[in-house]
């Protein structure tokens, strides 16, 4: 009699022990909206199709060709996407970023789950890729993807011959901000073999405002300028940065090593990390 009871108890416990993890493993979200290019491209790489992707006005993002045909939601301040449009897509999950803080709040109040991913380093991008994979139920796929990404990056940084001194400058209108090592662009350039000069400033946001005098004082070998303006103003800002008279006395300017990077690859995390590193090495650092 006692042993029968004991057997029943063990069986019950076993069932519960097996059932629990299965129960907690709720079905992965089906309807996903990705408002950042990083999240969108990561999902594409994981073979998970989002039902909507976000595109800023001016649309300079680089999207995977797999995402062609997916509904695009124009993003503007302060909410990000138009909430009515978003609501009509009926999403389970939205990948967003800190930029759309107000919109994120509104989405939460509509009962939509919002997850923020805005990696600012290559390591962070790897970690976020894994997290996204886990969230959408593709953990193993994500693990494999990561392995191949790591291999690609490793080969992209192989054979670095020299480490020139580089200043990576964000031109917000005519005001220069320096990329810090804790920014996406700063991390890419550092990994690509550049020695990032920052004029000694620090900031948790990854950017800090400096003056042109600091640029001259640091006297880098290479200056990479990234224009930050509305789509219409980018061409004129590019011209200005390329021939910026304030930097004329630097080694970089005199050797003709002032470059302007117009795409978003240094500004916003992307999934084509290895390709970005290669481009930086080939076009700018020449190492």
């Amino acid at each position: 009699m006692g042993s029968k009871l004991a057997q029943l108890l063990v069986a019950a416990l076993a069932i519960v022990a097996l059932a629990l993890p299965a129960a907690s493993q709720a079905a992965p979200p089906k309807r996903i909206v990705a408002l950042t290019p990083f999240a969108a491209n990561t999902l594409a790489k994981l073979d998970v199709m989002p039902i909507g992707i976000g595109e800023t006005l001016g649309g300079a993002e680089r999207f995977s060709p797999k995402l062609k045909g997916v509904t695009t939601l124009p993003l503007s301040h302060p909410n990000g996407p138009n909430l009515e449009q978003l609501a009509s897509l009926n999403p389970d999950l939205v990948f967003s970023s800190q930029t759309w803080a107000k919109g994120n709040q509104a989405m939460e109040s509509l009962g939509i789950d919002v997850v923020l991913h805005d990696p600012r380093s290559i390591q962070g991008a790897f970690a976020d890729t894994f997290k996204i994979g886990t969230l959408v139920g593709r953990k193993h796929y994500a693990r494999d993807l990561l392995q191949s990404m790591r291999k690609q990056v490793k080969s992209a940084v192989a054979g670095i011959e020299k480490r020139p001194e580089v200043m990576l400058i964000l031109g917000v209108g005519r005001t220069p901000f320096t990329f810090l090592p804790n920014s996406w662009g700063g991390d890419i350039v550092t990994r690509a073999g550049g020695e990032l000069l920052t004029g000694g400033v620090k900031s948790s946001s990854g950017f800090e405002r400096i003056s042109d005098e600091v640029v001259v004082a640091e006297n880098p070998d290479i200056i990479i300028a990234v224009p930050h303006a509305s789509a219409d103003d980018i061409p004129s800002l590019t011209e200005y940065l390329r021939d910026n008279p304030a930097w004329a006395s630097t080694t970089a300017a005199q050797a003709g090593h002032v470059y302007v990077s117009v795409d978003n690859s240094l500004l916003q995390a992307g999934t084509d990390i290895a390709a970005t590193i290669r481009k930086v090495r080939r076009a700018y650092l020449k190492n």
Partner: protein
């Protein structure tokens, strides 16, 4: 004399039309029949119902409340200060609220939920400073002193705001939406926090209607009738400050309404009696903002543009037409 009820009826009609448009139109097409069903409680669930109930309805209600608040704030200030150029900007509220909001947007972007609180706090602070300066020393509470103190405070806070924007230009885009003034579809949250300030402001304004009429006959007559002119001005200032600061907390800096709507209403109704002008400014302001907001979010849908320019577009022609007729 039949003119006034007619004008009031016309304003109510305009408000009804604006509200209907605001609920029926948007970035997503929802058929009119369905909108009615949802409003009557017979919705069939789904994203359409969510859009109407959680996005458009709170936004329409916000537009009405903010529009009414700004119209009424302008009307009672113009009456209390006996100056046709008076508006909530003049008592420093708009400048202070703008500064408080930009402070949060730029320095604490992670705590965006604090934005209405920041705007409200600094808006009321600015108004308090204006009253404190205007009620001190000689000529206490005179209109001239209030207006000058208000201008000084406005300049101070505007300079602070500009300084913040210049120091952090990369965060400027999110601030611009606030400065240009606009509602956002954020559900009922903001109203839930801010409604007490609106309530007190509206009640105070209602109680001030008759005293303001007395004030219109001059300080001496008002005193003879047993009122205290300076107290009336102070109370009007407080009511206007509450209404304007609460409005700025929700809808950013909308400067046009408070100044122009009372004038439009006065010219249309042919009277400056506050019993007509104050409520009519409320209805007129609500209609104008609801209409402007609808335009702002449907013209270039799904992009939502700031509402300020659209109110000017709607209001200025009407204002100029009435001006021609009046003079």
């Amino acid at each position: 004399m039949a003119r006034r009820p007619l004008v009031f009826a016309a304003l109510l009609l305009a408000l009804a039309a604006a509200v209907i448009a605001s609920l029926a139109l948007g970035a997503v097409k929802v058929p009119a029949a369905e909108v009615i069903d949802i409003l009557l409680g017979n919705g069939r669930g789904g994203s359409d119902q969510q859009i109407i109930e959680s996005l458009r309805l709170p936004r329409t209600v916000e537009a009405m409340i903010v529009g009414a608040a700004l119209g009424i704030a302008g009307a009672i200030l113009q009456g209390a200060l006996a100056n046709p150029l008076a508006s909530p900007d003049v008592i420093g509220v708009t400048g202070g609220a703008g500064f408080g909001a930009i402070l949060i947007i730029i320095l604490f972007p992670g705590s965006i939920a604090l934005l209405p609180v920041g705007a409200l706090f600094f808006g009321l602070l600015a108004a308090t400073l204006v009253f404190a300066f205007a009620w001190s020393g000689r000529n206490r509470g005179s209109t001239g002193k209030v207006i000058l103190a208000g201008i000084a405070m406005l300049s101070l806070f505007t300079a602070g705001t500009t300084g913040l924007l210049a120091a952090y230009p990369e965060r400027a885009p999110s601030a611009i939406f606030f400065i240009a003034g606009g509602l956002t579809s954020s559900g009922w949250q903001e109203l839930q926090t801010i409604w007490p300030y609106f309530a007190v402001g509206f009640v105070l304004a209602a109680c001030l209607i008759r005293p303001l009429d007395r004030l219109a006959l001059g300080d001496d007559v008002a005193a003879s009738l047993g009122s205290r002119p300076q107290l009336i001005r102070l109370a009007a200032g407080i009511a206007a400050a509450l209404l304007a600061a609460a409005s700025a907390a929700i809808a950013g800096l909308l400067g046009f309404l408070g100044l122009v709507v009372p004038h439009v209403v006065r010219m249309a109704g042919g009277t400056s009696s506050h019993t007509f002008v104050v409520p009519a400014s409320g209805v007129g302001g609500a209609a104008l903002l609801a209409a402007g907001d609808t335009l702002a979010r449907t013209l270039r849908a799904p992009i939502e543009m700031p509402v300020g320019p659209f109110m000017v577009l709607l209001g200025v022609p009407l204002f100029l037409w009435l001006l021609r007729k009046a003079v």
